[in-house]
Symmetry: C2
Subunit: 452 residues, 2 copies
């Protein structure tokens, strides 16, 4: 039932391309979903992909264009003049998709393409949508929707829906508006089908409609649609006029992207990459954080060399340098990631900053006590510290302090970043981990130097 992309399929297709069998290729693609065709294009080289792409009909071609990765799309579109882009591709798209594609074009080409759009209403919609911040509700909404007047009857509505729905893939909800286009409520198609045709819309629509303003943040869009289980969210301007709607497929993309961003931040990668990308592009997203790690390592070297006295007096201290550093890093990442997940889910907790830090202190005290005790028992039992009698106590005491500090630091930093409107996930990245490492080392050295 579902198409499966196999190595054989691709080899066969490459042969057909080689032999220029356009009709056979066309025939083999006709039953495929645009997402599958996009997958096929992705494993072909650019020349092969282009020759297959040019065989697609307008509607399918524009759907496929929307499914391929941004970079490929840019490369594809660079090959076409503005009028072809407008008339063969943009014309078949919903306004939100059209806006995405147009905003990826070079600046001079943007206006040219818009000028070539023959459907004036579509051109206007696109120009308006382009004016919104792309991370706001206005920037991700589509202008296409089905709206009916509150004073109409079911019969007029059904007729009107049939007309308006021609341009729209999926209806989901019918929005009810007042005479001056203000959003009043929502109506399900189910209800329209169930009620007699002479029923007035005003008697059957649901007034409890959840909407967002055009300047709302895209994270809020995702949170609202997820929380209230919506498949479409209407967008209004600050006077309540209905401007567009956001559908669930966009939200799924937002959720996926936000999760990937946080994930990449924690793994020290600065952008989207896949295993199939080139060696250079993978290197480019990996080097920056590694360089920061390198600087951190050099700072660590300074911390140790600056406290050489302690090491000369207690040479076996060196054994536990990796342990102290690693534990500081691990504890800090745990603390930060719990905060980051909490902030991302938008959970309401009414705990003050001090309240949060006090709770974290509670957790940290238990964790620090358990870890410090275990390493003390180990050191005393196996006499690992050798002749440095105090080392066992230095290690445990340092670990205790370091765990508590890293916990509080790891909790505080993302909350602090969030207040500064900086992405709190930054706190889970290598920068803070590196700082925790170095600080842990410093604590260890200073305790050995001055307390024992």
């Amino acid at each position: 039932m579902q198409f499966e992309l196999t190595k054989e399929y691709i080899e066969n297709l490459k042969e057909l391309i080689e032999l220029n069998k356009e009709d056979v290729i066309k025939q083999s693609l006709v039953d495929l979903h645009s997402a599958d065709i996009a997958d096929i294009l992705e494993v072909l080289n650019t020349k092969e992909a282009m020759s297959v792409y040019l065989l697609l009909e307008g509607d399918t071609a524009s759907d496929v264009l929307l499914e391929i990765p941004v970079d490929d799309r840019r490369r594809f579109l660079a090959q076409f003049p503005s009028d072809v882009i407008a008339r063969q591709y943009i014309e078949f798209m919903d306004s939100d998709d059209a806006v995405d594609v147009i905003s990826e074009l070079p600046d001079d080409k943007k206006e040219e393409v818009i000028a070539y759009i023959d459907d004036e209403e579509q051109a206007e919609d696109i120009t308006e949508l382009l004016s919104y911040d792309e991370d706001s509700a206005g920037g991700i909404m589509a202008a296409e929707l089905v709206a009916v007047n509150e004073n109409w009857s079911v019969q007029i509505c059904l007729k009107e829906i049939g007309r308006q729905a021609e341009d729209i893939d999926e209806i989901y909800y019918v929005y009810v508006v007042s005479d001056n286009e203000k959003l009043k409520g929502v109506l399900s198609l189910k209800k329209l089908i169930q009620y007699p045709t002479q029923t007035l819309i005003s008697n059957i629509y649901n007034k409890e409609v959840i909407s967002i303003e055009t300047h709302g943040a895209r994270e809020d869009v995702a949170q609202m649609m997820e929380k209230y289980d919506l498949v479409a969210l209407p967008v209004v301007d600050n006077e309540g006029h209905l401007k567009g709607r956001i559908t669930i497929d966009d939200v799924v993309d937002i959720i996926r992207e936000e999760a990937e961003k946080d994930y990449q931040m924690m793994s020290g990668i600065t952008g989207d990459v896949e295993l199939s990308d080139s060696v250079l592009s993978i290197t480019k997203v990996r080097l920056p954080w590694l360089l920061i790690g390198l600087v951190g390592g050099i700072l660590g070297a300074f911390v140790i060399s600056g406290n050489e006295g302690a090491l000369e007096r207690i040479p076996n201290m060196v054994f536990f340098i990796p342990l102290i550093g690693a534990m500081a890093g691990n504890v800090g990442v745990q603390s930060s990631s719990i905060v980051v997940q909490g902030l991302a889910s938008g959970a309401n907790d009414f705990q003050s900053l001090t309240g949060k830090l006090f709770k974290e202190l509670g957790v940290a005290l238990i964790v620090a006590f358990v870890l410090a005790s275990l390493i003390l028992i180990f050191n005393l039992m196996f006499n690992f510290a050798g002749s440095d009698g105090n080392l066992a106590y230095i290690v445990s005491f340092s670990l205790f302090i370091v765990v508590i500090f890293a916990s509080l630091f790891g909790t505080f930093i993302p909350l602090f970043l969030n207040r500064l409107k900086v992405d709190p996930a930054l706190a889970t990245g290598p920068f803070i981990t590196t700082m925790n490492d170095i600080f842990g080392l410093l604590v260890y050295m200073l305790i050995a130097q001055f307390l024992f």
Copy 2:
């Protein structure tokens, strides 16, 4: 428009509860969405929450029950006898939600509750759904859907839909089946509205329907619905009979959960926690991986003490112990997380394992060369190594080897785990990072010991 939960609201509500003002409380909740009521209950204590919950009407009460976290739901339901659970809550739920709630009950209560369900069809549906693996398509689907026969006319369909849709919140798609209930295609409500009433369904339905079998994995459900932008996915048995459908809100939950699982794995947390959870439950999910980190630190101590000869000969080696360990860990996590993200997105790449490792080797060679050169320049310029002339070369050479090893290891392990059907995200967790740390240390020590 949207309800906002404030501290004042909660304080006011707590006072009303204290004063037993049931009518006022009821009135204040009547316009709220069940998700908002659930949020309110979550910040009250158990006794307060229960007294508010008991004021809710059947339909709202069962919606709210579905919105509160699993633990709270379990605690709530423990207070009710089986017949109340069946008749006041389960009765109002879709079969997939009912199954979720029932499977959370203690074993002896499960059958009791099912026996008390008055609607025989619902009881049958629930019993069937409970028989599927909860991580399979069958385990997450709902039995409620709207299906029409391919031989009917639009008019009969509309009537039939009105009847069937009574139990269903949202229709999304109408499924077309043959006389023996096999899934044939799909029909949008939009089309039903647009075509004349005497049109035959067989002439207008879409035969390219995407479906999944009951035993399909839930990750596949999410991937398919995301890829093909579906809001509902029909589920069939292995003979093609239509058994149920999965809606997009479940998929959003799956995507969120999978992302959180991967995120927690990387941050070294073994379960779901929020900042608002108790100190003990937060401690419980954090300690396990920290203990593994502790064992890793102890192994690190053994590696250093086992190679003390090198340290005695080149004492300044100690400066770079943190650097080597941290870089090994950072590089390894980067490599693993790229693989894990690739596997999670189900991207098709046809690269063999050897191909992937070769590409990673390319990246690793560049990264290792850059990092090793930079640290060499630093050491030579600042003469940080002091009198140990060779140390600069030992550090750079070790870093070079360690980066390459950690890259390959970090790429190989998740691919290997995936082949063993173990969650590849395990590779991004503290266990592998700790192993990379220790291995890095060992390489550093051995190179100093034997090569210089």
